[in-house]
């Protein structure tokens, strides 16, 4: 048999996947070298959405950069807003009123849910089950409504400001959020019943592209991708910021429940479980939120002291790090955005060797990448 296989020379095929492809989550391009259906090499080619956020950051003021952070990761705008605010506050030593911190945590966790919903939905759509995607959007629309109440926009909020948040919560917001949580919490087991433990779905994901814990750390994976590999590391817990120390939640890690630890299924399940934890955090935050002002005094021509700061926040896709250098003027001197998706793509070429073409889609989906973060 083997001799015959050698006698038949087969040619490797070079396939271009993207930048316009339904399941590359935007404009990612993957250059596939395949032997039939088996991938010999998959090399990501990024940069199709490089919008020069870092250069823009050097040319606008600190407050003006806030709307651009919305567009750094548009599925988690609130988290990016807050990360930028926390970075600048750390640099300038601004004390933020506690109510504002609570509001930030509430909107961040809501945004985490809505981001994970898209991750869940688009991942299942990539696997060929299109319906859960629409369920995810249905739930997401309700979060969008809540955010619309807060700031008037559905996707790019610019709500968190340096020194606090732009406005106090509207009337009945907390009740509406509670209503949403009551509505949403039973949906998670429903998703699990609908798709997570579907036999085909599990077969497609278990043991595919397993990443060991050590590998994940070395390659700089963060967030759910790192935790999916069984490493219990969550910045909200390990390097607590804001009011997270006052809130109780579990760090979800991959357990290899259907295959090996760190496979696509684990990464997927971590996200599903994290939604439940976010609901837990939200309930506590709503119960604890104090009254008071929501904005600290920040001068209009805001000039932070000279210095360099690196701040990182746990965003839905992992660790969003901001390395900020101030020269004492109104503009940041240098602004480096360490985006989780960008670093994650580094391991892509390694884990996709020897998989099938259909698995490539699964790996992209399980990493939950987002292109503006990769390209910035």
């Amino acid at each position: 048999m083997k001799a015959r296989a050698e006698a038949l020379p087969t040619q490797e095929m070079l396939i271009n996947m993207g930048p316009q492809h339904p399941s590359t989550h935007g404009v990612l391009r993957v250059i596939l070298r395949t032997d039939g259906e088996v991938v010999v090499n998959a090399r990501p080619d990024v940069g199709y959405l490089h919008r020069a956020l870092e250069k823009i950051g050097e040319r606008v003021t600190y407050a003006q950069f806030m709307p651009f952070t919305d567009r750094l990761d548009y599925l988690a705008s609130m988290n990016c807003n807050a990360a930028w605010a926390w970075t600048v506050e750390k640099l300038a030593g601004i004390e933020v009123p506690e109510r504002a911190e609570y509001i930030r945590v509430i909107v961040c966790e809501l945004n985490r849910i809505s981001s994970h919903l898209i991750a869940f939905g688009s991942f299942t759509a990539d696997m060929g089950a299109f319906t859960p995607f629409l369920y995810a959007i249905r739930e997401r629309e309700r979060i969008n409504d809540l955010f619309e109440d807060i700031c008037g926009n559905r996707l790019t909020y610019n709500y968190v400001r340096i020194g606090g948040v732009s406005a106090d919560l509207p009337d009945r917001f907390l009740e509406k959020t509670k209503e949403f949580l009551d509505y949403f919490e039973p949906k998670i087991p429903e998703y699990n019943k609908l798709i997570s433990y579907n036999k085909i779905f599990v077969h497609r994901l278990a043991n595919v592209a397993a990443i060991s814990g050590g590998e994940a750390v070395a390659y700089g994976l963060t967030g759910p991708n790192l935790r999916g590999s069984g490493v219990s590391f969550d910045l909200r817990r390990s390097e607590p910021y804001s009011v997270y120390p006052k809130l109780d939640f579990d760090v979800c890690v991959g357990t290899g429940e259907r295959g090996t630890v760190g496979d696509c299924f684990d990464r997927y399940m971590v996200r599903i479980n994290e939604m439940r934890e976010s609901v837990k955090i939200l309930r506590q935050a709503i119960a604890q939120i104090p009254g008071g002002p929501v904005m600290a005094k920040v001068p209009r021509a805001f000039k932070p002291p000279v210095g360099e700061v690196y701040f990182r926040a746990e965003n839905p896709r992992g660790e969003t790090g901001i390395y900020l250098i101030s020269d004492g003027t109104v503009n940041p001197y240098r602004l480096k955005l360490r985006a989780p998706s960008f670093v994650t793509m580094n391991i892509f070429e390694k884990v996709t060797k020897g998989l099938m073409i259909a698995d490539i889609v699964a790996v992209i989906g399980s990493f939950d990448i987002i292109l503006p973060e990769i390209d910035r």
């Binding site: 390659y219 240098r334 480096k336």
Partner: protein, 156 residues
């Protein structure tokens, strides 16, 4: 470990290659090292049982007008401490050894620094432009970068 202690330890091991500790106004503090020894110091920081910086959080190029710098932000998941490492480079032909053999995570970020600052990392697995097209002229994040007027006939 405190930054001061880390600095002392590295200084004790590598002597002249370690220039200074930037502490005031820097969070986290930076150990400034000479560019040639970046790889050795990285290996030490990763493997020394007291250091164990197993994770490279962030690698950034910086243009300080008179010189470039590459800043590494390191973190140890095991011990839980953080440190910054910085190497200053001349403006002319900036180059320093690649650390993607130490932390694989460095590869993409080095490519990015190469793409946007023109800093060369000899010994890198794969050093090409990453965000911009291959035929892009110039390194946009340099402070003296002039925006081009046209790219492939489209106004910029």
């Amino acid at each position: 470990m405190e930054p001061k202690a880390i600095f002392e330890a590295v200084k004790g091991k590598f002597g002249e290659a370690v220039v200074e500790l930037q502490e005031e106004g820097f969070r986290p503090a930076f150990v400034v090292v000479s560019p040639e020894s970046v790889r050795e110091i990285s290996l030490f920081l990763r493997d020394d049982p007291a250091m164990k910086f197993d994770s490279l959080m962030c690698l950034s190029g910086v243009d300080y007008k008179d010189r470039f710098a590459v800043a590494y932000h390191l973190h140890s998941l095991e011990i839980g401490h953080r440190i910054g490492v910085k190497a200053y480079l001349p403006r002319e032909a900036p180059s320093l050894p690649s650390v993607d053999g130490v932390w694989p995570a460095a590869n993409f970020q080095e490519r990015e620094a190469f793409d946007l600052y023109g800093i060369v990392f000899p010994g890198s697995k794969d050093l090409r432009r990453i965000l911009l097209p291959e035929d892009w002229v110039g390194y946009p994040l340099r402070k003296d970068y002039k925006y081009p007027e046209f790219y492939h006939g489209i106004k910029v």
